[in-house]
């Protein structure tokens, strides 16, 4: 047996009191886009209403009638839950809100995924033997990157100390605009989108100074930063 975690985007529905009015309001919207909730995960956020166990069961049944299947509950006292009700969920993170709109055709845009952080900030120096990988975006390092350490970013890399180890930007290969910046270059290797230069191929006159590296076609270029 394998247990593998997977995360899905869920819509949080927040009923407001009185629940009957809220359901009527939902009906109006569903009339415009009847299939909106058809294949979507829905979490019921009950923080703004006080419902008894029977009330919750009634609400969940009412939603099911409207083809809204509730996969989890949030913001409710666990004592009010029973085997007939969906499980209590914790740790949800806010994502972009979605409007209930009618499907315009088969080429509907995928549901907006929860906004992930697009940069990683490292306050500490990166030590020899450490490997920091962040495919989602940029990495900024406030300290130095030691010889024998490596930084791999999907986006650009910014180093405000000395770069002695390896820096690999645009690691997913589809980001030719990724760049590497550092205050002081003593690097072992620089790479962007798979094109690289080793220490030997870095101009000696650049050593010890601030620099940036970028990709010009298939060539990795390095210039001093003034």
């Amino acid at each position: 047996m394998r247990l593998i975690g997977r995360s899905y985007m869920a819509f949080a529905l927040t009923p407001e009191a009185p629940v009957a009015d809220w359901l009527a309001d939902l009906d109006v919207r569903l009339a415009r886009a009847p299939e909106f909730f058809a294949d979507r995960a829905v979490v019921l956020d009950l923080t703004s209403v006080r419902l008894s166990r029977a009330g919750i069961e009634h609400l969940v049944a009412g939603l099911l009638e409207r083809k809204v299947r509730v996969m989890g509950l949030e913001g409710v006292d666990p004592s009010k839950l029973g085997p007939s009700l969906p499980p209590l969920l914790h740790g949800g993170r806010a994502a972009a809100a979605a409007e209930i709109v009618k499907k315009t055709g088969p080429a509907e845009k995928p549901a907006p995924s929860s906004p992930r952080p697009t940069s990683l900030l490292l306050n500490e120096p990166v030590r020899s033997g450490q490997s920091i990988v962040f495919p989602e975006g940029d990495i900024s390092v406030l300290g130095s990157v030691a010889s024998g350490a490596e930084i791999v970013a999907g986006g650009s890399i910014h180093i405000y100390g000395t770069l002695r180890g390896r820096a690999m930007a645009g690691s997913l290969g589809n980001n030719p605009d990724a760049r590497i910046f550092c205050q002081k270059i003593e690097a072992e290797l620089l790479a962007i989108g798979g094109y690289y230069r080793t220490a030997d191929e870095i101009d000696d006159t650049l050593r010890g100074g601030a620099m940036q590296a970028w990709l010009d076609g298939t060539e990795l270029k390095i210039t001093a930063l003034q």
Binding site: R127, A146, S147
Partner: protein
């Protein structure tokens, strides 16, 4: 409040054992109760440097395996009343150290002594990990040469991630001790300068121990260098380092180039 300190390094032969003995003796001389623990199981050196090799009956492994009680294995120093040694075993290998066992011994030592100073084996293997695991503070011993400095950086990374304190989200206190520093060679560029080492490791400096015959002489007669000749340069540097460990604010002495007659002649010729 007792304090557990691990003396560690990435590379071997940088002076961990000498440092453990010297710092232990210096702290004991200052009136603190100190135990130095040899974690370098399989090898065994601390007892030699402490001059207690002929008095070892039980060792750390015996205590961990329950063959002997801790008080049976502790050896009291002949010169200092408050200095004790827990020796390592040379006949067992590093696998004889168990995590639970180490934890128990350290906890027991914590109750008896003000300072528990652990002499770690070099490198990143199990023995070194176990030695650093329960420490409150670490003394990272490094020589001013690139290989030693790079490996020390690796060890500092481990201290920040693999120790009990780090796993609880706390910071382990770290001190850098530069040993075998030769001012003349550093000034000629044959050795990394202090600034370079500090720049690479960005860790607070505990002391700079000058390269000296005194250290070798002391370890060969089985006396911590801080006991054999308190006035020598390395002994002074270790005594100052011990005072900094105790939290005193002592100004850093940077070993200077001693100008001999020959140096002066060469200096003139070059000028």
């Amino acid at each position: 409040m007792s304090k557990v300190i691990v003396v560690t390094s990435g590379k071997g032969g940088v002076g961990k054992t000498t440092t453990t003995a010297a710092l232990g003796a210096a702290l004991a001389q200052a009136g603190e109760s100190v135990v130095v623990v040899d974690f370098d199981v399989g090898l065994r050196n601390l007892d030699l440097v402490m001059g207690a090799e002929r008095r070892v009956v039980f060792d750390l492994i015996n205590v961990i395996q329950g063959v002997a009680k801790l008080p049976q294995a502790l050896i009291r120093d002949k010169r200092l009343d408050t200095l004790w040694l827990l020796p390592a075993s040379q006949t067992r290998d590093k696998d004889a150290l168990t995590e639970d066992g180490v934890q128990k011994v350290i906890a027991e030592l914590r109750e008896k002594f003000d300072w528990v100073i652990c002499d770690s084996p070099a490198g990143i293997e199990r023995g070194a990990m176990l030695a650093m695991r329960h420490a409150d503070a670490a003394v990272i011993v490094t020589n001013p040469e690139v290989s030693s400095v790079r490996d020390s950086d690796r060890i500092i990374g481990m201290l920040d991630s693999k120790t009990e304190k780090a796993e609880k989200g706390e910071r382990i206190e770290k001190h850098l001790l530069i040993t075998r520093y030769d001012a003349a060679r550093a000034s000629r560029g044959e050795m990394l300068s202090i600034e370079d080492v500090l720049d690479i490791l960005s860790t607070p400096l505990l002391g700079i121990i000058p390269e000296s015959e005194e250290v070798l002489k002391a370890s060969n007669i089985g006396t911590p260098v801080t006991l054999s000749d308190r006035s020598s340069a390395p002994a002074q540097a270790y005594i100052e380092a011990a005072r900094r460990l105790q939290g005193e604010d002592v100004e850093m002495t940077i070993p200077l180039v001693r100008k001999g007659l020959l140096d002066k002649l060469f200096g003139r010729r070059a000028a």
